[in-house]
């Protein structure tokens, strides 16, 4: 039981960090960014290059990764999404193609061979026969801090309130003098940075591969669909629901069925509560 509790909490924190940027972009821009996993992948590779290739400190490596993610988010929005945002399907298709192209570029630069990364926080926590790496615990704590900060940011700061305004009523926000494109740009930058941070922890926890963008994208889609597309709180709650469900499945049922129950949950929620458990489309 302790095992499930610790593992579930650790995994859920990481999932929440993975999913929250995805839901923000939908909430503000009303588009699904299927290149979201690429932000994670870029974060992981940027950190790897900075720390394990050039020997830069881990803190600086994380900062570089977050900046790279944010920059790529801005670039994606400016060059691609802004021109297509009137057509959500075109955005979905083009971001998916972008993901595939980026994967190919990563293969060209880094080859397709997986790379194992040193943990950011080395060591292992042991309790009652359960062992969890300090790295994933750090990811969990950091994700809570970041997500808590994000909630405060969107509710208490001027920019955050402007983002909420656009997510609630785009036309009303424009009338109030808010530039929705600037808000979208900020959202893509924040989403890119958060995803890159998640990518650093995800990669140091698992491994770095050019195909690593797919699993986080599936997690993000599952979390936001079940939680309610656009709801940060919904995403946080459902990230924990899925994290615990996967841990329970692996530990008590069968490891090979790990992702199956998540997909079943997505289908059930889509059929019974199409708007998600927390049914909102604004932040």
């Amino acid at each position: 039981m302790t095992n499930i509790l610790i593992q579930g909490l650790a995994l859920s924190g990481l999932y929440a960090l993975v999913a929250v940027g995805f839901t923000m972009i939908f909430s503000v821009g009303r588009v699904l960014n299927l290149a979201h996993g690429v932000f994670l992948m870029l974060g992981g590779y940027a950190y790897y290059t900075a720390v394990q290739v050039f020997g830069i400190s881990k803190g600086a490596g994380i900062a570089i990764a977050v900046l790279a993610g944010a920059a790529f988010g801005i670039l994606t929005y400016t060059v691609l999404v802004r021109r297509l945002e009137h057509n959500p399907i075109a955005v979905e298709i083009s971001t998916l193609i972008l993901a595939v192209v980026m994967q190919a570029l990563i293969v060209v630069v880094y080859t397709s061979a997986p790379k194992s990364m040193w943990p950011i926080v080395p060591g292992v926590f042991r309790h009652e026969g359960v062992f969890v790496s300090h790295n994933i615990l750090a990811a969990m704590v950091l994700s809570w801090i970041v997500l808590g900060g994000l909630v405060v940011f969107v509710r208490r700061t001027r920019l955050g309130r402007a983002l909420r305004a656009v997510s609630m009523d785009r036309k009303g926000a424009v009338i109030s003098g808010i530039d929705p494109h600037r808000m979208s740009l900020a959202t893509w930058a924040i989403s890119g940075g958060l995803a890159a941070l998640a990518g650093v922890f995800f990669a140091t926890y698992t491994q770095l591969t050019p195909g690593m963008w797919v699993a986080p994208l599936i997690i993000a889609v599952a979390v936001v669909v079940v939680g309610g597309i656009g709801s940060i709180v919904g995403s946080l709650v459902v990230a924990h629901l899925i994290g615990f469900m996967e841990t329970v499945t692996t530990t008590l049922v069968a490891a090979e069925l790990r992702g199956v129950f998540t997909m079943v949950l997505v289908i059930v929620v889509l059929v019974i509560v199409p708007k998600g458990l927390f049914g909102r489309e604004e932040l």
Partner: protein, 439 residues
């Protein structure tokens, strides 16, 4: 009347003349044209590239020596499987239908080989596999010889790998380490299922090691903490990993989590010299079964020359050292052409198959018999297992391995970044060890 008849026959004569001319032209092209070898495998994987490069070097050597089959040059054409069954089938079709290859060398994984296998039987193309070890393919050759006789497997099949691995279990894991129980962690693949079944069945009977449980996991699994926690909770003496597709995640997480139980088994990521860098120098304590010739294994004189050429040609481009299938592709391509020379070509198929079955190349290390490339013939019974392995590379499952090389060795990675063979004793240059946090 006569004139009219001649006129009537004129088109026929013209057609015949064109046909004869075309036929002569075809024959002339057959003599001067290159012999086409197809490579099928994953361009992106280390294992795929090992096979491709082994074949490339063999072909370069054959061409440099004046060509084959009466001075014809060999041309290599490649088709990418992307380690995907559908892509593999398409690749096999491309090599045959578009490139019209004479011979195929494969670096495909088990599931992909299984996919194109029926196509091979249709095209009747001589094919040599260097990576797949699935015994189901060998059994099909034995059971439907006429249909599948063009297939040769240049690596000991998983049944043979498993048989010798049980000896390692008995001698090292049981006697030397005193271990009595294990939990199997099995990747959900055809290869994994086959090996798990075999190991679970005979590990206890032969080596006295009880299998407490088998945890099957998906190849895309990225979080092994719950799996390791579950395995450790069963309190085994060691864990047995069977991973042939995505071995790096369980390896690196095993090290990062410092899982408090030893682990050995089949870990494909650890089969190449690049493993050390890939794990960020955290691969010490990992051991794995490896087909031969393995990384860390002393090489026969001929394979040593190949390895030197490989390093000179490819430098730091990964894989920086050929995996076992690189060696098997190099020797396999040369043996296939030697058989073709004796048979007068790759066609008629029966002649080439007969000569391949007669292949017997013995390789020596400093005068000592070390490795052998020969193939089991139909009806030939392997003495230890009492069964047939038609067209599988000839292996020897009984020390001192003087009838063929052993089917596998066990290699051990150490904390200083070196890898050595630890079993069987004849080929061993190091000692089996457990990770530093367990010592």
């Amino acid at each position: 009347m006569q004139l009219r008849t001649d006129r009537a026959l004129a088109p026929l004569f013209a057609a015949l003349a064109i046909g004869v001319a075309a036929s002569l032209a075809h024959d002339a092209r057959a003599v001067g044209d290159p012999v086409k070898v197809g490579f099928i495998g994953s361009f992106a994987s280390d294992t795929g590239r090992s096979t491709l490069r082994g074949a490339e070097i063999a072909i370069e050597e054959l061409n440099a020596a004046g060509g084959v089959l009466g001075g014809r040059m060999i041309e290599l054409v490649s088709a990418d499987t992307r380690e995907d069954v559908t892509e593999g089938i398409k690749a096999y079709e491309y090599l045959n239908e578009s490139e019209n290859v004479d011979f195929i060398v494969s670096g495909s994984i088990d599931d992909v080989s299984l996919g194109w296998f029926p196509r091979m039987a249709e095209y009747r193309t001589p094919t040599l596999d260097t990576w797949t070890s699935y015994i189901g393919l060998i059994d099909m050759v034995g059971e439907e010889y006429e249909k599948y006789k063009m297939y040769f497997m240049n690596i000991a099949c998983d049944y043979a790998l498993g048989t010798l691995y049980v000896d390692f279990g008995k001698d090292v894991l049981g006697k030397q380490m005193g271990w009595k129980s294990t939990v199997i962690l099995q990747e959900d693949t055809a290869f994994g299922g086959g090996v798990q079944e075999f190991i679970a069945e005979i590990m206890e009977a032969e080596a006295g090691i009880k299998v407490l449980d088998t945890i099957v996991y998906d190849t895309q699994t990225v979080d092994f903490a719950p799996i390791y926690n579950k395995a450790v909770a069963l309190e085994p003496d060691f864990m047995y990993l069977i991973s042939s597709v995505n071995s790096q995640v369980p390896s690196s997480q095993y090290v990062k989590l410092q899982v408090p139980v030893a682990m050995t088994g089949i870990n494909v990521a650890a089969l190449g010299l690049d493993f050390w860098n890939d794990t960020g120098g955290a691969g010490g304590g990992i051991s794995t079964l490896s087909p031969i010739p393995a990384v860390g294994m002393e090489l026969d004189d001929s394979s040593k020359v190949f390895a030197e050429k490989y390093r000179a040609k490819y430098g730091d481009e990964r894989p920086v050292f050929p995996h076992f299938n690189g060696f098997n592709a190099y020797h396999g391509v040369k043996n296939a052409f030697a058989a073709a020379e004796r048979a007068g070509g790759f066609a008629p198929l029966d002649d080439w198959v007969r000569e391949m079955e007669n292949t017997d190349v013995k390789l020596y290390k400093d005068g000592e018999f070390w490795h052998r490339y020969a193939y089991f013939k139909p009806g030939e019974i392997e003495p230890r297992t009492g069964r047939e392995f038609v067209h599988n590379i000839k292996f020897d499952l009984t020390p001192p391995y003087d009838d063929g090389a052993p089917s596998m060795v066990v290699i051990q990675w150490y904390t200083d970044g070196t890898a050595k063979v630890v079993y069987p004793p004849k080929y061993a240059s190091g000692e089996f060890s457990i990770p530093p946090w367990l010592q």
